[in-house]
């Protein structure tokens, strides 16, 4: 059985059942309430499932991950002591824009394993960056309250030496 996925732009992706099973939203759409009865209802793949929030480029990237994990279990939330395989780290890369889009799509499509990988990817890109660098990278505004500013200035006093060791 194959399922057609339609991206935001209308591009069609024909995927096999094991690949589609990795995507929670697609799984729910394809099997519906009868999933628990053990058979599929969406046997006619000509209609396809529209994923209106996912662009073609991100969907194709996500399908690469789903294809890789079609027969294996990815890391899940409980595996906090496990390291992501090297394939995963190479897959997610260090392009923050890409990772953010993958994160958003994985959240929308309900793919927990890919969601965690995207979080790990963001954490790796943040690694070693100072707060201003993080703000510049992510477009975050430093919007601290006055009280927080006072507390932080005190912390900076402790911290300055670490950042500028003599």
């Amino acid at each position: 059985m194959s399922i057609t996925l339609i991206s935001k732009e209308g591009a069609q992706f024909l995927v096999s059942k094991p690949v589609a099973d990795r995507i929670g939203v697609v799984r729910d759409c394809a099997y519906g309430a009868d999933f628990w009865l053990g058979y599929a209802v969406a046997t006619d793949d000509s209609m396809g499932i529209t994923l209106a929030n996912v662009t073609s480029s991100i969907l194709s990237k996500i399908l690469v991950w789903c294809e890789h994990y079609k027969d294996m279990e990815p890391l899940v939330d409980g595996d906090s002591n496990m390291e992501f395989p090297e394939w995963d780290m190479a897959y997610i890369g260090h392009d923050m824009n890409q990772i953010l889009f993958v994160l958003e799509a994985a959240d929308y499509l309900h793919i927990p394993g890919l969601l965690l990988l995207a979080c790990k990817g963001i954490a790796d890109v943040l690694d070693g960056r100072n707060p201003r660098g993080i703000c510049d990278l992510l477009g975050i505004v430093m919007d601290f309250s006055h009280r927080q500013e006072v507390d932080m200035d005190k912390e900076n006093g402790y911290w300055r030496w670490f950042l500028h060791p003599t």
């Binding site: 954490a123 960056r129 100072n130 707060p131 993080i134 601290f144 030496w161 670490f162 500028h164």
Partner: protein, 561 residues
Amino acid sequence: MRDVNEDAPSTVASTPHPSHVQTHPPNRYTPLRPPNSNRERIILNHLPTELLLSVFTYALEEDAPVYTTRLRLTHVCRVWRNVVISYAPFWKCLALRPSDSTPHRLAMTQLDFERAKTCLDLDITIPSEVASTYAASWPDAPSIRLSFKKQLQGVEFFVISALDPEVIARIQVLRLRDVSSETRDLIQNQWDFSVPLQRLTELYLRPGWFHSIDIPAEANNLMRQILMVAESLRVLQLDSCTMPANVFPCSLRKLHLTRVTIGSDSDLLSMLTTMRELEQLVLFDRWPDPDLVPPAREDLSISLPRLRILALSPLYDIPDAFLLRALDCPNLKALHLQDNTDEYMPELPMIDSVPGENIMDAVASQPWMLEEICIHGIPGVDHLVIPFLLKHARSIRRLAITEKLYATARQTQGQTPFPEAEEIALRLERNHTEFVFGMTRRAPDASAGDLLPGWQWPMDPADPLELPDVPLAMSSEAKTERLETELRELLCSAEDDSGLVETTVPHRGKGRTNVRRVYLYAGLLYQSPQAINRVRNEHTKLALSPALCDNLYIGKPEWIY
């Protein structure tokens, strides 16, 4: 005026990843392409808190012991600061920062304890420091005296903060290792033992390497007092002390004793009979009577229905055979038997060099279905070990044996004698290790501070540093060739003539084995496993293609004690 926005020095290695898979940014300070639209900003601004916490959890994975990233994240924006500060698990681990990480250790320690007030379960590590007796031998310079004084102040402040009754009641994990006699006395004076450690479930105690040979009564007394108030202890790791049997709680799930002497009022076997919840029993560096070696008692049966892991080292043939026969633990899955025959530490006494025939007989008589086996150093019993290993060949998931033993098993059983094993660790002989990896043992340099004052290398000049030359049955080249054949079988069988490897996935596809990882380990090699593709150099003599070695590591896997 937030100076925290300055860049920190880079510590990223400049060499590319040999396997072309980058687990870290090539240069973490290279400006990335900024968000090209507001879309990315919207994604971040609307990120649910739980996802933000997932990101932060990964970012803080290796933040200890300086905790710089944790502070950095609190200086990004209001939301991030609130999320990081209000999430208790980020503040549950309390450990003193290294003395050279900041001159404001006291203030930062105070800040840590303040923020940890939201944590119901604390993980506290009592810091170790240089004992004043050693410091007295240092050069009498004002800067050194000042440094030492600051170090002691930091330790004292941390210990006093950690032993506050309000904090003690929230300790879930306590680590007390390598403390000096000064810190030990401070703990003894500060600790209010009338406060029960209701939440304490894990305790790791080692009085200090200063006293590893002659444990003072004060240290034993302190550890006994701590154990007496730990009512709900589940994990106990005790090192280098003498302890009466009645202080060990029956609620223990994991018991790990190293160089521990059980008090004369009881013995190990009687103590174990009360611990029916025990899941892991590790007895290491045992000296003969009255240590952790059990007395030979035929009438005893020790029922440990939950026991899954048993590790003994070194081995004493007769008494350990009695222990192994007395054990009634049908759920045992991991067995580690290691004798004290470490060829890399010839200065250690050889306690028991008799063959372990009784031990192997006792093990073979048990109906265990073992999934993890680590056996090495038992002299003269290969003829018993091989049938034992082959008996469990279909159930073994993890196996650690000598390469020589593996070769014998392979010779007996044929290729891949352990087809279900997912991780195999092969211990190499020293000469073979040096040949394969081009390593030689470096003698410690006293002038570089490798040795304590007054020590020399070798420890006893009368003893030769090197083991006596024994005529080898096989040359190093022949052993390496044999090892390569074994590794090819274990890692993958689809390497074609041009060196290309067709990827095979365990449990399916073309792979003949289930092996996910193979380790080569020995005393000279890396302590923690390193992918061989990362560390191989021109001296490495293994003629295996890098693609084939994706799952080959050198170093001892973490599951070997």
